[in-house]
């Protein structure tokens, strides 16, 4: 029967090649292979071999380092700054976002500003905060706040705008007490937007933080990569770059994905990825494009 033939499970080699997991694991292997080939054929003094970088990373993991801070100290310092900065961004962004969502004039007044702030490159935040605060904790933390706030504001705003009026009306018709409505209707309806703010704000805040530490700090992961750069140790720079990637992966897969899968367990499987990310990201993209267009207008006009 034709139908049965079409839906027959594929033979195992085909299944493994087609599986998403294989594709994911294949990518780093391809990168390593290309890198190794480049190293062998380019004969450059700058590009270190994968082996050299991996052995550097292994030393770092074992806390055998020339730097003033171990790998763990550096990342702990940076993570601490990221969390403090992002919590502040979350608190301020939540208030501003709620105000903008609930009061029309405030939205009109602030929207363009928020979009412009969103378009400020993290490099600019890092340099300006560095100039303002000098070396220390302040520049990196304020950079995280500056980079993170627009993401929080725009997502909270979007969440308020998408608040499920029909569910509030339903609660009202059945005379459900206000406290229960806040807890079981309002807060859950804001969750997808809260998570979008968390993911994008955290990821972008992290990028800004590393830059700020390169310029305006005497410790942290950003400072350490600068340390290896100044010491002309390419394996140190590349090794730390890979640590950054691993760190981001652990945060995303190990923390955000798990928590979000638990929080959104009520979603039908097929809907999962679409609903959770598509809405806020599309909106943020619109916002970014708009900001870029405005910047371009100002540049030419």
């Amino acid at each position: 029967m034709a139908v049965a033939a079409a839906s027959r499970p594929a033979a195992w080699p085909a299944r493994i090649i087609r599986s998403r997991r294989t594709a994911r694991f294949l990518f780093p292997l391809v990168v390593l292979a290309v890198w190794q080939l480049a190293f062998m054929f380019l004969e450059t003094a700058v590009l270190p071999s994968p082996g050299k970088v991996l052995s550097f990373m292994w030393d770092e993991v074992r806390m055998d380092t020339l730097s003033r801070h171990t790998l763990y100290q550096s990342f702990a310092i940076s993570l601490g700054r990221l969390i403090v900065g992002f919590l502040i961004a979350l608190a301020i962004g939540l208030v501003i976002g709620l105000l903008m969502g609930l009061v029309r004039p405030i939205e009109y007044f602030l929207y363009d500003v928020v979009v412009v702030v969103l378009a400020v490159p993290s490099l600019v935040w890092a340099l300006i905060t560095g100039l303002l605060f000098g070396l220390g904790n302040n520049a990196p933390i304020v950079t995280v706040i500056g980079v993170g706030i627009p993401f929080v504001i725009l997502n909270v705003l979007e969440g308020v705008k998408n608040s499920p009026k029909e569910l509030f009306d339903m609660s009202r018709a059945f005379r459900v007490p206000r406290r229960r409505v806040v807890r079981h209707v309002l807060l859950p309806s804001l969750m997808p937007f809260f998570f979008a703010a968390l993911r994008y704000g955290f990821a972008n805040g992290w990028k800004g933080l590393v830059l700020a530490e390169v310029f305006a700090s005497t410790n942290g992961a950003g400072w350490t990569i600068r340390y290896w750069y100044d010491a002309h140790r390419a394996q140190g720079v590349l090794g730390y770059a890979l640590f950054f990637v691993l760190f981001a992966l652990i945060l995303e897969r190990g923390v955000f994905e798990r928590v979000s899968r638990y929080v959104f367990r009520w979603r039908p499987q097929a809907q999962l990825e679409v609903v959770e990310e598509a809405v806020p990201e599309a909106k943020l993209k619109v916002a970014t494009v708009e900001a870029e267009r405005m910047a371009a207008d100002r540049g030419t006009g």
């Binding site: 029909e166 569910l167 009306d169 339903m170 609660s171 009202r172 018709a173 059945f174 005379r175 459900v176 229960r180 079981h184 209707v185 859950p188 009520w266 979603r267 039908p268 809907q271």
Partner: protein, 246 residues
């Protein structure tokens, strides 16, 4: 059972040039164990009427009183879409609209889930059910509070004909068993004739144009000649009132 008294009810949305009159001097008296349908073209204020009656919207002018033995009546509402909390289980969706989550409440919710044939779906999330099942959960939710009066806003209009038909039967049985006052909005004349004792006809602009008594024994089979004739009568009245767009 409840007594619904509506006097000179006006409802307007917006102001100035954007003003929309949704209800214009509506007067209505409904009481006892009756099933009243509200029929009319879309946009004529049927949903607005239910929203004002249930307290979702405030009237612009006029008086609305829904009482049960002298006190404010407790309403139940079945919406056009299920309006379930997607993040709560079916059972929790029912419990959500109750005063407490005591054992009696749970027991009662389970019983009404059974009445709509979903006793074994209590632990599912709404997203795991079909549209028809979700609508049934909405119906069970409204009945489970054992309201004095039940408002229903085109509850079957999104469903396929077969599901709608079986739900109509269930609804009729539950109405008979629980002796409720029901106000049922629909734009389907056949459905109104099949279910109700009385049909209130609305026209564009939010005014009541006619009030028809349907005096046929239940249960009514739409294929029955008497029912078909009654339906044709109502449709003819619609034509006389110029309610049907040509």
């Amino acid at each position: 059972m409840a007594d619904i008294r509506v006097e000179h009810l006006h409802k307007e949305f917006g102001t100035g040039v954007e003003k929309v009159v949704a209800l214009d001097d509506v007067n209505l008296d409904v009481s006892g164990h009756v099933f009243v349908s509200v029929v009319g073209p879309s946009g004529c204020g049927k949903s607005t009427l239910l929203n004002v009656l249930t307290g979702i919207e405030n009237p612009t002018r006029g008086k609305v009183e829904i009482t049960h033995e002298g006190r404010d009546a407790f309403p139940g509402y079945v919406f056009q879409s299920p309006r379930l909390l997607p993040w709560r289980s079916v059972m929790d969706n029912l419990i959500f609209v109750h005063k407490d989550r005591s054992k009696e409440t749970r027991e009662r919710c389970r019983r009404y889930l059974g009445m709509v044939g979903l006793e074994d779906r209590g632990s599912k999330y709404p997203g795991e059910l079909s549209g028809g099942m979700q609508q049934r959960v909405g119906i069970a939710r409204a009945f489970s509070t054992e309201p004095d009066v039940l408002f229903m806003d085109e509850p079957f209009s999104h469903l396929d004909a077969i599901t709608a038909r079986s739900l109509r039967r269930e609804l009729h049985d539950m109405w008979k068993a629980t002796k409720k006052t029901v106000l049922f909005v629909t734009h389907d004349v056949g459905e109104a004739v099949e279910l109700s004792n009385r049909i209130v006809v609305f026209a564009k602009g939010g005014t009541i144009k006619d009030d028809i008594t349907v005096d046929l024994p239940f249960p009514r089979d739409p294929a029955d000649q008497d029912v078909a004739i009654a339906k044709a009568d109502v449709l003819r009245k619609f034509e006389e009132l110029d309610l049907i767009a040509t």
